[in-house]
Subunit: 211 residues, 2 copies
């Protein structure tokens, strides 16, 4: 519990710093392999010509996802989490020191694949996103209530393979709304550009609100 | 580190108890939604007429998977992990007290969906299994080296949807063997009964070796 309180204090410090520089910071959480990196890549591709974007990639071996973001030409900081299974405010604070915050509009943070621990570790973000995929099974939502209750946007990804895994994305959406009636829920597939527009638009709204 | 050492001591106590009663104990680890419960269900269905099986189901809300195992008519103990993202030897010790070990041949423990933390928490098992699915992406292996290095059987599941997610299971197998050249790697699909025979046979061998 002291761990949580110390983390929250540092997260608040991060948040104030980001606010001061008008950086819209997004914490992208979700299950392993649910499509977090893919969703971030799509957002970067769509928005980088109009907004200045940076990414913090958190993982055991952060360089693997970090290289994907770098290929898109945006400043990227890898944050190695080692044996920890969540990013924390300390790692984010260190990563922020590597960035020119004055010249960033959108900061996307990819968290470690995990639906449990990131719940308790605020990072200083403005928006908390949770991304799951249909492949994890339709009971994945009710099995992890806290992450859906404490996030502000939910994404159900890979809907193109829903039939192949006998899952109805609408069932998953219904379960999320049972846990958190106010949360917006997006159904996405990397193969359907239309489905990604809602995701990209949501981020763009956040950037504008920050100004 | 004291946490690990205390856990290891208790794990050793569990292991001795299981050995004394000739129980073959299997720790099934893997990513969220990779198919752990499905693989265990298939093993139970195939083996329960010839061997006495029990299951410990570990998760945030353990009852959800526990009910699936109970439906197959085998003694099942739910182990709620709460905010922890791994089972530990203490939770397993408590679960073992609920079982009639003298009359069990095979004990299957489903760990929390997580490729990081279960590495460091021995439970007292004889066999450590790691199960991932093609849907997590083919970089999932090299992103989590420790779990593959420290497991004794690897399962790549859901191969029936490999094309739908642009993943080659042979690539994933190759990566596992790079990390751990000695580990047996099985490619499975719940839709292909033939592929499950190797998995079931492997468990049966373990049961026999315990006698
Ligand atoms: N069919 C399908 N596959 C997808 C979709 N989105 C992502 N994938 C695939 O899912 C796999 C994982 O995608 P990533 O974007 O790396 O997922 P991630 O959540 O960042 O993974 P980690 O960071 O390792 O936890 C890759 O093989 C992607 O090609 C989708 O909408 N449909
Ligand atoms: N297409 C396909 N789907 C599968 C296969 N195995 C499991 N699934 C589906 O994958 C989803 C998750 O399966 P589970 O067995 O519940 O996975 P799990 O690893 O126990 O999940 P958690 O305990 O919640 O981490 C379900 O919708 C299953 O029907 C497979 O071989 N092929
Ligand atoms: Mg990623
Ligand atoms: Mg399960
Ligand atoms: Zn954790
Ligand atoms: Zn953990």
């Amino acid at each position: 519990h002291d761990v949580f309180r110390a983390n929250d204090k540092l997260a608040e410090k991060n948040r104030k710093l980001l606010e001061k520089h008008e950086v819209f910071a997004v914490n992208v959480m979700g299950a392993i392999g649910s499509g977090k990196t893919t969703l971030i890549e799509e957002a970067v591709k769509a928005l980088k010509d109009r907004y200045r974007i940076a990414v913090i990639a958190g993982d055991v071996i952060a360089e693997m996802d970090a290289s994907r973001f770098r290929k898109l030409g945006v400043p990227t900081v890898p944050a190695n989490t080692g044996k920890e299974c969540h990013l924390d405010a300390k790692l984010v604070e260190k990563a922020l020191e590597e960035l020119d915050l004055e010249n960033i509009d959108l900061l996307i943070i990819e968290n470690v694949g995990n639906l449990i621990c990131p719940v308790d570790f605020k990072l200083g973000e403005e928006l908390r996103v949770v991304a799951v995929s249909v492949s994890e099974g339709d009971d994945i939502i009710l099995k992890h209530p806290m992450i859906f209750k404490t996030s502000e946007l939910a994404v159900i990804n890979k809907v193109d393979i829903a039939k192949a895994v006998d899952v109805n994305p609408e069932t998953m959406k219904r379960d999320i709304l049972i846990l958190n009636p106010e949360i917006p829920v997006l159904l996405t597939s990397k193969h359907d550009k239309e489905s990604l527009k809602a995701w990209i638009g949501y981020l763009e709204e956040g950037i504008k609100d920050m100004k």
